[in-house]
């Protein structure tokens, strides 16, 4: 049996696994189908002269210990923490709200819109941090049975994660913009409206992995999220890992219930004693291994995984900074949540439920050039508008739906930043279908499987097991966002896969 470990997928999780395993002296080959590394955290020149992040670009949840272990600094990664966490611009009917990492600064701003909310903010941040801290240990390693006890003795934590987010927030707050800002931190890429049960979970998830000292901070890599992949690749290569791009895996080879290696799309065969797949569980098992090799009940479990939470990315090259009402430049460095109230997000989710485009798409915007002007040519700004809560199986299909979505998104942006249309010089679009076709994100789900309590913790596949049973193929490990703890730029699924493999 070969000692080689093959890693399928060069997203950040695959690269973390490759770097950690190579550092432990393993013979590692990482195979990435695309020409660039980074997967859903890649930076591409989608607009000439611009460094456009294709997916995630927020490193706020990335595990610091991994960064240190792999010497990111030495491999050229520079982090920039945004001064703002999240901001909701003002509209004709609503006021602007900005959440800052500093409690006092946020309280000061909130005082302008609601004295009650301003008074409630410090207590909220404290309790959230406390609950997040209780959750954090469960997210950074394979779960053990004893962990279930940790959850059960924390009834408030359980209640918060299983409740509709909006309800929990309304227990404290009244200002619609503030509620929308918090929903905007939690709900991107979930496909869930804030009235859905279990939407407390993604907020806790963000807070737990964002660090207990600040509320879900936004951290970016200089040069774009792709700089993370480059640093990881450099670290892995320095430890001897072989990293190949343009190498699409078409099959994970199984011999008498054990992985034997992989076959590439070009027919080449690579022997391996272990394979870490960072593809979605659906792609890994149904496509790369093949349903007929699996027990029917396992196939049924795979088919039951919900892959909602498709999104589209609209990248705009602007002639200047757009005029989001009521927000100063520092406030534009974090998440820009374009919702006047939680119901704006809920309505978008409603439309998706019925396979329709929302009348007013819900957009989470970012202005990466506000922090790092090097991403665009001089004088230009880059606006990344992510339209969340889209139905992958859109009625009428995306060929017709794409242009319509673009028109509605443009109208929505204009509503929030009047005159923005006149600033646009160039644009690029990634639709849900592009995310599936180009990145293997099943049904366009950026998190490789909906992030709700019913698909989290013990209920999400972990590196070597799922629902209490070992994975059906010996020597196969899962290391992508589809497994515990879930999506986002955390590095954790890759790390857990590497650690599990090393432990055997």
């Amino acid at each position: 049996m070969s000692d080689r470990v093959v890693i399928v997928g060069g997203g950040h999780n695959g690269l973390v696994a490759a770097a950690l395993l190579a550092r432990s002296g393993r013979d590692v080959v990482l195979l990435e189908a695309r020409p660039e590394l980074g997967g859903l955290a890649a930076t591409r020149e989608l607009i000439p002269g611009h460094r456009v992040d294709a997916g995630s670009h927020d490193l706020g949840m990335f595990r610091r210990s991994v960064m240190e272990e792999l010497d990111f600094g030495g491999h050229g990664l520079e982090l920039i923490e945004a001064p703002a966490v999240a901001a909701v611009p003002a509209t004709a009917d609503s006021s602007a709200v900005v959440l800052w990492p500093e409690v006092a600064r946020t309280v000061e701003g909130l005082g302008q819109v609601s004295r009650r909310d301003a008074a409630a903010w410090p207590g909220f941040v404290f309790e959230l941090a406390e609950r997040a801290a209780a959750l954090e240990p469960l997210l950074s390693r394979p779960l053990e049975l004893a962990d279930m006890g940790r959850l059960l003795i924390a009834p408030e934590l359980l209640r918060t994660l299983s409740s509709p987010l909006e309800e929990s927030l309304r227990e404290r707050f009244e200002n619609p913009s503030l509620l929308a800002a918090l929903c905007g931190v939690a709900l991107p890429a979930t496909g869930l409206g804030p009235r859905a049960n279990g939407t407390g979970w993604p907020l806790l998830f963000h807070c737990a992995l964002g660090g207990s000292d600040r509320l879900a901070p936004v951290v970016r890599a200089r040069g774009g999220a792709g700089a993370l992949a480059s640093a990881l690749a450099a670290s892995a290569a320095a430890s001897g890992a072989e990293i190949r791009t343009g190498a699409a895996v078409s099959r994970i080879l199984v011999d008498s219930g054990r992985v034997a290696g992989v076959r590439l799309a070009d027919g080449a065969r690579i022997e391996a004693g272990a394979v870490i797949s960072t593809a979605t569980p659906s792609v890994t098992f149904l496509d790369l291994i093949g349903a007929p090799r699996l027990e029917p009940r396992f196939v049924r479990r795979l088919l039951n995984v919900k892959y909602r939470g498709a999104a589209a990315r609209l990248a705009l090259s602007l002639d200047g900074l757009p005029a989001f009402r009521g927000l100063e430049r520092p406030a534009l460095t974090g998440r820009i949540v374009l919702a006047e109230q939680p119901d704006d997000i809920e309505r978008a989710a409603d439309a998706a439920k019925y396979r329709r485009l929302p009348d007013r798409p819900w957009i989470e915007a970012a202005l990466p050039t506000a922090l790092d002007p090097s991403l665009a040519p001089a004088g230009r700004h880059l606006l990344l508008a992510t339209v969340h809560h889209l139905p992958f199986n859109l009625e009428g299909g995306w060929d017709a739906g794409g242009p319509e979505l673009l028109a509605r998104a443009a109208a929505e942006l204009e509503r929030w930043a009047p005159g923005i249309g006149g600033l646009v010089r160039e644009h690029a679009v990634l639709l849900p279908t592009d995310y599936e076709a180009e990145y293997g994100a099943t049904a366009g789900a950026l998190h490789h499987g909906e992030m709700n309590p019913s698909q989290s913790l013990w209920l999400r596949p972990t590196a070597a097991a799922w629902a209490g049973e070992p994975l059906p193929v010996a020597g196969l490990w899962l290391g992508g966002a589809g497994c515990h703890p879930g999506g986002g730029l955390t590095g954790l699924p890759g790390m857990i896969a590497a650690v599990s493999l090393l432990r055997g």
């Binding site: 093949g290 349903a291 007929p292 027990e295 029917p296 196939v299």
Partner: protein, 503 residues
């Protein structure tokens, strides 16, 4: 042209067919349309419709002069409601494609729910004559409620070989294979028949639904699984006279050459022309017999052809009680009675492997395809099944003695098969299993039963005690383990079966 009295049964059949065109959904028809639909000369259709109108069975629209359905008229498309019996029928009972035929003959009004379908339990007040028809003449049994799945596509054989414990790659076109299928733990899900219609097309018949199971097992394969249960009517023609009747009722099939578990396609009607029908030499009675698979819209034509052909052979329609008696003599197990499907087993100990349900012969561990449950069944092969399905023969003198204690003769003769499970004991000792079906066989003159017992109590000749109800008392009667089937006439499998030659 002089009006001529219609001759024989043909006119009656035509008139009834016309009558059946009138339903609540399609109440009105024109003469030309009816004549064309039934292949009749307009004058013939006019004559027959005139009789139906004069008899008050159909009406006439005053405006258009078209013929009209009359609500409540007997025999028309509105089959009407029959009294609910035994509380088992669902609120909206389904009707098999033969329902109009079977309901017209069901004197006893004894109905039973079978997978949601209203089925005849016994046509006459007692099942005795129907039972004897199976053994001495021939019986016609509506078994349409079976679930039927068409498996088609390049990977059809691959899917079935993955699902079934038997080697489906060895099932040639024109053959039927009886098989089991199991879950991942080797626990029996069902037993049923696989018909190979062509290289890439099969029909699976089963007692319980299994569409989702086939779909899950076939995920990623080039195969189409379709539930055709409601599209196909099934009639079982069983008994020593079955061949002669089948021969006379169909065309295009060489029944002499048709072997046990063969399949053939033919036409309904002595000279054909009644539409296609598929015939399999299969059945659930352990006798010579055939099963006829027909598109639902031609079901009544098939029934009529078989009934006509059976007139000279003592053919009787038979209900489910007679079928149950016959299958017990044949030693054939019944799902939900003699074993519990792993799908329905509430607790682990109720689940059985094929071997434990007496179906070990359907498990082919030597086949090349990997099938669901294989590993578990290989382990079972090495360690031996924990349970065995056996035949029991209860000692008649002992039964007489027990009943004589309350001054009665054994009250078991003339009773249908009992499905109430009763315990089986080592003689004078602990329980070793349960008897799930038993009845007094009028043919064998023996009180027989099917029982699941511990492996060590399964050898033929082993003496066991079986609990019997004697009046209000529960007593133990001595029984002996015997080989199944209890009754196995040579005609069942004979080549070119001929009455009087093969028994």
């Amino acid at each position: 042209m002089a009006r001529r009295a219609p001759q024989g049964t043909q006119a009656v059949q035509r008139a009834l067919a016309l009558l059946r065109s009138f339903t609540r959904e399609a109440p009105e028809h024109r003469l030309s349309e009816l004549a064309a639909a039934h292949g009749l000369h307009p004058s013939t259709a006019h004559r027959l419709l005139g009789v139906l109108e004069a008899e008050g069975l159909i009406g006439r629209s005053p405006e258009s002069q078209a013929y009209r359905w009359l609500p409540g008229a007997p025999g028309t498309g509105d089959a009407g409601s029959s009294p609910r019996r035994n509380g088992l029928r669902p609120l909206e009972p389904l009707r098999t494609p033969f329902h109009r035929r079977t309901s017209a003959l069901c004197e006893s009004d004894a109905w039973r729910d079978w997978s949601g379908y209203t089925c005849v339990e016994t046509y006459e007040p007692t099942p005795e004559r129907e039972y004897w028809a199976v053994r001495n003449a021939a019986a016609l049994i509506d078994v349409s409620p079976l679930f039927k799945y068409e498996i088609a596509g390049a990977d059809a054989e691959r899917l079935l070989d993955r699902v079934m414990t038997r080697d489906i790659s060895k099932c040639r076109t024109g053959r039927v294979m009886y098989t089991s299928w199991c879950n991942e733990d080797g626990h029996l899900l069902q037993d049923g028949n696989v018909q190979r219609l062509s290289r890439e097309r099969f029909l699976v018949s089963a007692a319980e639904p299994c569409l989702r199971w086939f779909e899950d097992c076939g995920w990623g394969m080039d195969v189409d699984v379709r539930d055709v249960s409601e599209e196909i009517g099934v009639l079982a023609l069983q008994g020593p006279r079955a061949r002669a009747i089948a021969d006379a009722a169909t065309a295009g099939i060489d029944f002499g050459a048709m072997r046990y578990f063969d399949l053939a396609a033919g036409e309904i009607g002595q000279g054909g022309g009644g539409g296609p029908v598929t015939v399999t030499r299969t059945g659930y009675t352990g006798d010579l017999g055939y099963e006829f698979w027909v598109a639902a819209e031609r079901a009544e034509a098939l029934w009529d052809a078989l009934v006509d052909a059976g007139e000279d052979h003592g053919l009787l329609p038979a209900g489910l009680l007679a079928l149950d008696m016959a299958r017990t003599e044949a030693g054939l197990v019944l799902i939900d009675v003699d074993y519990v499907s792993a799908v329905d087993a509430e607790i682990e100990v109720l689940k059985v492997t094929p071997a434990e349900a007496g179906l070990g012969f359907t498990v082919k561990l030597g086949k090349s395809a990997d099938f669901v449950g294989r590993r578990a069944l290989e382990l079972e092969r090495d360690r031996g099944p924990a349970w065995a399905m056996v035949g029991l023969e209860v000692d008649w003198f002992e039964l007489e003695r027990l009943w004589s204690e309350i001054d009665l003769r054994p009250q078991v003769v003339g009773q249908p098969a009992s499905r109430e499970p009763t315990p089986v004991f080592a003689p004078g000792g602990w329980q070793v299993g349960q008897c799930t079906t038993r009845f007094f066989s009028p043919l064998l003159k023996k009180y027989i039963g099917l029982a699941t017992v511990r492996g060590e109590a399964a050898d033929p000749g082993t003496e066991l005690d079986v609990e019997v109800a004697v009046g209000y008392g529960r007593r133990r009667a001595r029984a002996r383990v015997v080989e199944r089937p209890f009754f196995n006439p040579p005609r069942k499998t004979a080549v070119d079966p001929t009455p009087g030659v093969n028994g």
